[in-house]
């Protein structure tokens, strides 16, 4: 596999930051993603680092630990437990990578273990307000 092996960060080549939002397809009783093979993730993480495209990335703790905050028009703060895992897909983590174009980002998304086993990876360019 040579996907994503396009030279990057080379002087003069404009790259784009993309966020890969990793959606777990199925969630177990504790709100953790099912079928998560630690070895696969470690290998993927290493290949992202080695390719020199890594900007940032985090894996999120189980959904049972999530809390939702809303502030109404009157300024009143509402805090509730959740969201619960009723939604079919749950955000499990993300990467931000810096690559030349969407095709390269899609290749990295396809290599991500989160895109398999009923999960999916949503690829979104990071807004560029610089130019």
């Amino acid at each position: 596999m040579v996907c994503g092996a396009v030279p990057h960060g080379t002087m003069g080549v404009r790259t784009v930051k993309y966020m890969l939002l990793i959606q777990a397809g199925a969630v177990d009783a504790e709100g953790g993603a099912e079928g998560c093979d630690v070895q696969d993730w470690m290998e993927y993480d290493k290949s992202v680092q080695d390719a020199g495209i890594y900007v940032s990335g985090e894996s999120l703790a189980d959904l049972v630990s999530a809390t939702t905050v809303r502030v109404g028009a009157d300024g009143e703060r509402t805090v509730v437990d959740g969201p619960f895992a009723e939604t079919r897909e749950v955000l499990g983590g993300f990467y931000v990578i810096d690559v030349p174009d969407l095709d390269a980002a899609l290749d990295w998304a396809a290599r991500c273990p989160g895109s398999r086993g009923g999960g999916s990876v949503v690829v979104r360019p990071v807004a560029d307000f610089g130019a």
């Binding site: 003069g12 404009r14 030349p100 969407l102």
Partner: protein
């Protein structure tokens, strides 16, 4: 004089538009800038050509003018230029500028085909982009061709271009190892344009650009650019053979004429003659693709003097191949119809009954079933099936056809 020159400009421009745009996109890496420069070059041609005459190499003239317009724009708009500057350096390094001023426009259109049909774009925008970027249709023309309001078409194009720009969908030809995954999307877009041309063929607007012919024209171009890809050849053959029957498909009153009732002398022999030599290369040299197999089926119809003397055993065999390649209830339905011609309506009816769960909401299924029941002289059941088909049919010509059939079994 003015009108003549304008006509010449329009003809040249339509022919050269895709090439021009592809080279400009390659050079500047930006579709909007490329489109703007291309249309300004056309305006300049409309001013100058009637006075000075059409240049010897109209394409090269348009390209030189368009590049100058693009550079002017970048000089005027420094922020825009800054955004594109690095991009430009990148494109220049990737390959030395492919353009020398004296030559005709080099053909960079393949990358545009792949960008327009990129899987990250919504399906309904892909055909619209191809019509605009590669076939040279304006947005109002593309809207008329698709029978959608101009605003809808404009919105589709604007959104798709925004996505290309912001998500940075590249203008590049996929690597050979990526082609098997990417080419089917390009072929599917072309085939959708083609079939939509048929769906829209009963519309009221006679000035509408012919989608089927545009799709054929673009597929010819794609085949020249990718001569080794056999499915492109198969798709072109399938389109030509289908298009050849066009005049026979519609009755003078606008009604639909089925294959079995068509006047075969109306079939366009020139298109058939163009298509038949495409089949051997499309079918040979490895497992055939679904377009090539469908073209082979269409060719057997084209070569048959009558519906009854068609080589039905061979057609059933080809549908067996197609069912293995691209299984779908519709392929199974067509296979059953061919089998009815080979083995009679009884065995075919058994096949259709097995498809009922998947196709019960599909009017051709009920129409095909009704035809078989009528042939078996089970008139009450046939009438019932025609009524179900009538309730589901979408267009007037189809309904008129079904009413005639219903009347024959239930006068």
């Amino acid at each position: 004089m003015g009108g003549e020159a304008a006509g010449a400009v329009a003809a040249v421009f339509r022919e050269e538009h895709g090439r021009l745009l592809a080279v400009l996109v390659r050079r500047f890496g930006d579709l909007d800038l490329a489109e703007e420069a291309a249309s300004e070059a056309l305006e300049a041609a409309l001013v100058h050509w009637p006075v000075r005459g059409v240049p010897d190499r109209p394409g090269a003239w348009l390209l030189t003018t368009a590049r100058r317009k693009a550079v002017d724009r970048l000089r005027r708009d420094q922020a825009y230029a800054a955004r594109l500057a690095v991009l430009q350096a990148e494109t220049d390094r990737a390959a030395p500028p492919a353009v020398d001023e004296g030559a005709d426009i080099p053909d960079e259109r393949l990358r545009l085909f792949f960008t327009c049909a990129h899987p990250a774009l919504p399906a309904e925008a892909r055909g619209a982009l191809m019509l605009r970027c590669l076939a040279g249709l304006t947005t109002p023309e593309a809207a008329r061709a698709h029978l959608v309001p101009q605003a809808t078409m404009a919105q589709r194009v604007v959104r798709a271009k925004k996505k290309i720009r912001e998500a940075r969908i590249p203008f590049r030809v996929p690597e050979p190892h990526e082609l098997p995954a990417r080419l089917p999307g390009v072929l599917q877009t072309l085939y959708s344009l083609f079939t939509e041309g048929y769906a829209a063929s009963s519309g009221p607007d006679l000035q509408r650009p012919d989608l089927a012919e545009e799709a054929i024209r673009l597929t010819r171009v794609l085949r020249r650019l990718l001569p080794a890809e056999r499915e492109t050849t198969g798709l072109l053959a399938l389109m030509l053979l289908t298009h050849a029957r066009r005049a026979a498909r519609t009755a003078p009153d606008g009604g639909l004429v089925l294959l079995e009732d068509q006047d075969r002398t109306l079939w366009d022999r020139a298109l058939i003659e163009e298509a038949l030599p495409l089949l051997p290369p499309a079918l040979a040299g490895g497992p055939a693709g679904p377009y090539a197999v469908q073209a082979a089926i269409a060719a057997l119809h084209a070569e048959a003097p009558t519906f009854a003397t068609t080589d039905w055993p061979q057609i059933v065999a080809l549908y067996d191949v197609l069912s293995a390649l691209a299984p779908s209830p519709l392929v199974a339905l067509n296979r059953a119809a061919a089998l009815a011609m080979r083995d009679g309506p009884g065995p075919a009816l058994l096949l259709l009954d097995a498809l009922g769960a998947e196709l019960h909401a599909h009017h051709p299924y009920h129409a095909a079933r009704a035809d078989l029941l009528a042939r078996l002289d089970r008139r009450a059941e046939a009438a019932d099936a025609y009524r179900r088909a009538l309730a589901l049919a979408g267009t007037d010509p189809e309904r008129a056809h079904l009413r005639r059939r219903l009347h024959a079994v239930d006068p």
